[in-house]
Amino acid sequence: MSDLGIDSARASAELALVRRLALAALEALERERQRIDGLNVYPVPDGDTGMNLVLTVRALVEELGPTESSGRVTFRRDFARALLMRARGTSGVILSQIVRGAVEAAPVSGSIDGRALAAMLERSRDAAYSAVAKPAEGTVLTLMRELADEARRRKRKSLTLQQRLDGLVERGEQALERTREQSPILSEAGVVDAGAAGLLACLRAIARAVAGEPAVVEVPALKLVSS
């Protein structure tokens, strides 16, 4: 009985932590929405990538709402269903695949070490790539692949979670910058990929939140701001 109480308290604390991280990501996306919309020239230049990501992550936060702690297993199942139903637009659908992969591969108990983080990001990458016949380069998929590579490269090094996340953000910044050259459409427009910029904004916010820093960050200047 007391064991159950401890487990339940732990599950509830973990849920609160995940919710805090998701909220940090949502705040970052809401702040950067217009900039991300302005980057949206591919696949259809309809300037809705930022909004789609905001709606998708907002749905995710709502699903993580102040509910009874239910343990990781039920939580995963509910969460996957919610993500499936509430993802918006291509970028939202891809983000929901990324989150679903990470949640599925997250350890059932214990903390997230190098190996667990690498397993989560590799599952995210695989889930993201699994739903497209011919993945284009210079998209959020490319960024996801690089993040998974980075996590795997450093999985055996003795680092804190914070150091790992900071390393991922750094690699992500470089990968995002490279999307500019990876796609002819992006290089013609002189922009980085909108979906990738959104994913990196989430990752940056999560890294800050884990560090306990305030979520507000300086955004590197990018060409083509939403008019």
């Binding site: 696949p43 259809v44 309809d46 499936l84 139903m85 509430r86 993802a87 918006r88 637009g89 291509t90 939202g92 659908v93 891809i94 695949q97 679903r100 699994s130 739903a131 497209v132 016949a133 011919k134 993945p135 284009a136």
Partner: protein, 114 residues
Amino acid sequence: MQLQKTALGQLFVSSRAIAQIAERSLDECYGVVGLGRGARIRRAFALRRRHGVEVIPSAQGGVELTLAVVIAYGLNLAEVAATVRSRVSYEVERVTGLEVARVEVRIDDVRSRD
């Protein structure tokens, strides 16, 4: 289908070419893991069926497309269908200049990509 008419002559594009363009953009659509078997030709004037893409000239000089697709299991079908519709019509209009009057998306199957 006629694209241009100038003093020197006219420019036509075949429905086969349009189907090819649609098919290429379908390959890169997120959520689409394959093409369907193609729509059964109900109408005698359906010009060309190319795998999952059927191209029919519309009354106003544009085209109507029917896309038969296979979607990845686990995704929100309505959301994927909406993005397929906007992406393929954008691409066909961008490349040909023809108006895409209508896009029917038919989900033939749902499966995991192996």
